[in-house]
Symmetry: C2
Subunit: 335 residues, 2 copies
């Protein structure tokens, strides 16, 4: 099991390579809700998502021990792939292969190739996982799993650590749940602070494996990749490693596709950013959670990625969500 | 005539109210071109555009002299309106009226109203200008022109000053030209530095009044608002005040609509931001300018605003520009 201090070690290890991404606010959203909402902008991280933190933590750990491989392999829905490609290039690892399901965003495929990695498309997500794992057994090769890896989880935790160092008295942290590294890292990082925030996860209603696992107390796994616009959450299931932490968090919200689209449009507008549908889910969850609060709260919403392809943008902007501002149905007057 | 030092006075005056917006880079774009391109991100300014700088400089100037009005009026294509509404509210001016042509972005109308201003729609842009000017003659009222005002120009210049303080040895600055306050401010700010960059403007080919004026040496003015996706550049013409500076800059690029759309998509993708079509024009101009250079250059591209409505987003993302990376046709090998 990881300890909260492992987040500090990771932060120290990767700090010189990564961006300490800004924390933003939206005055309008704070006015509408009467609460304080802070956004940790990992969409401005190198390669546009939080993934590079975990990958670097693992590779730099190996480098410290003179164990850097000559070849790295993985499977990915896109952001992990770009992180692997970027970090490998930066550390002079020349050979990188990424297995992706053929329905992976073209843009994420293209961006991964632009960073020097070879991309192999497979029929299904499960096939990508299987082939990456087997390829990882080749000589001189390391397989870096996107979430089932302690060093990757600790790296992911560094962003929550940074944000909680920046914003005092956060009552709850909201993060998207795919394979679970981000949420596990949030959970661990939160233990480093005196004022410990609740940790809440969000996943698509159509891809609710973590929510089912959380309720049942044992891991539920999809046999095929679920359909959702939130491409970062098309994971088949949590690993035993991430479930260890996720079973202890304070709740998991299941977000409907229409709400994912609505908040993707609204966060783009309110923060003038490019926001992945996956990163809009924690905002939907946070809004819902705030409606039930009776005292004024500070929440942290993690915008974990900003890589949006044209196909997704076309769906988001097909109809006008911006002419319908968020309506906040508070349970009671705040005290 | 303004002097470069007026930019410093403005910066000092408005500094505590505004965001010193970040300067970003895109590794991919620098790799493709072989040059260094820096982006001044005014889309992260309060109300999502540079306009608040000029408005605040004017209102704070009046406040210093105990001359704050009880009412402010203006006309605007949207960003100036939001800046007026925000700054007036912040300075406790309760009455704000904005005249807008009826084809103004719904989102910009809505955002202006959300900030407490009354919006009056007019048939044409010329009618909005006329009515705002006449209304400005009412007792207790001040009309703040979006560009034909020395204090507004000096305020706009502060962003270029900030950027040139941050990035050394900038060879050229690229900015969008609407009414001309932004470009005039760039010109003035550039004179404060020892390494003086060229100042280049960009406007839509279909709304090329500044370019015609620049070539002829006298102001050309459209009789009706030109058609372009770059809503910040639908101005009828420069004023004598802004033409004074603009006639001295190093050139004006006329950008085709297809290139405005292409670079809006690509800047959104490369920087993970929301970028107004108006702000994509200087990138198109900068790319074109760089292709003709024979030595390695540092350029500054001003992303002046990030307020994009659904209708515009739908046009931008209707077809896939992201599958066609920028092709750089260099005139010669860089020395």
């Amino acid at each position: 099991m990881l300890m909260p201090d492992d987040i500090l070690t990771a932060k120290h290890r990767i700090d010189k390579y990564i961006v300490n991404t800004p924390v933003l606010r939206s005055d309008l959203l704070n006015e509408i809700t009467g609460h304080n909402i802070f956004f940790k902008m990992e969409s401005f991280q190198i390669t546009g998502a939080f993934k590079v933190r975990g990958v670097l933590n693992y590779l730099c750990f190996l480098k410290e021990r003179n164990m850097l491989p000559s070849r790295v392999v993985t499977y990915s829905s896109g952001n992990h792939a770009q992180a692997i490609a970027w970090a490998s290039r930066m550390l002079d690892i020349r050979k990188v292969r990424v297995y992706m399901a053929k329905d992976t965003s073209n843009l994420k495929q293209q961006s991964t190739r632009e960073l020097g990695a070879e991309v192999t498309l497979t029929g299904t997500r499960a096939a990508a996982e299987e082939r990456a794992y087997l390829d990882g057994l080749s000589s001189g090769t390391v397989f870096i799993h996107p979430s089932d890896n302690d060093l990757v989880i600790a790296g992911a935790g560094t962003l929550t650590y940074e944000a909680l160092k920046t914003v005092d008295n956060v009552d709850a942290v909201f993060a998207a749940c795919g394979g679970g590294a981000l949420v596990s890292g949030c959970y661990l990082a939160s233990k480093l602070f005196e004022h410990k925030p609740d940790i809440l996860a969000a996943e698509p209603k159509t891809a609710n494996d973590a929510s089912i696992s959380y309720k049942k107390g044992k891991i539920f796994r999809f046999s095929k990749s679920p359909t959702t616009i939130a491409d970062g959450a098309r994971t088949l299931g949590l690993s035993a490693r991430t479930f260890n932490y996720i079973k202890k968090i304070n709740g998991i919200f299941e977000i409907e596709e229409k709400d994912i689209i609505y908040w993707t449009a609204w966060l783009s507008h309110l923060l003038n950013i490019s926001c992945e549908p996956t990163s809009a889910m924690p905002m939907a969850a946070g809004f819902n959670w705030l409606e039930k609060q009776v005292t004024k709260k500070n929440i942290l919403v993690i915008i974990s990625g900003g890589n949006v392809d044209q196909k997704t943008n076309k769906v988001i902007w097909n109809s006008d969500h911006l002419n319908r501002p968020p309506t906040f149905k508070a349970l009671s007057v705040l005290t």
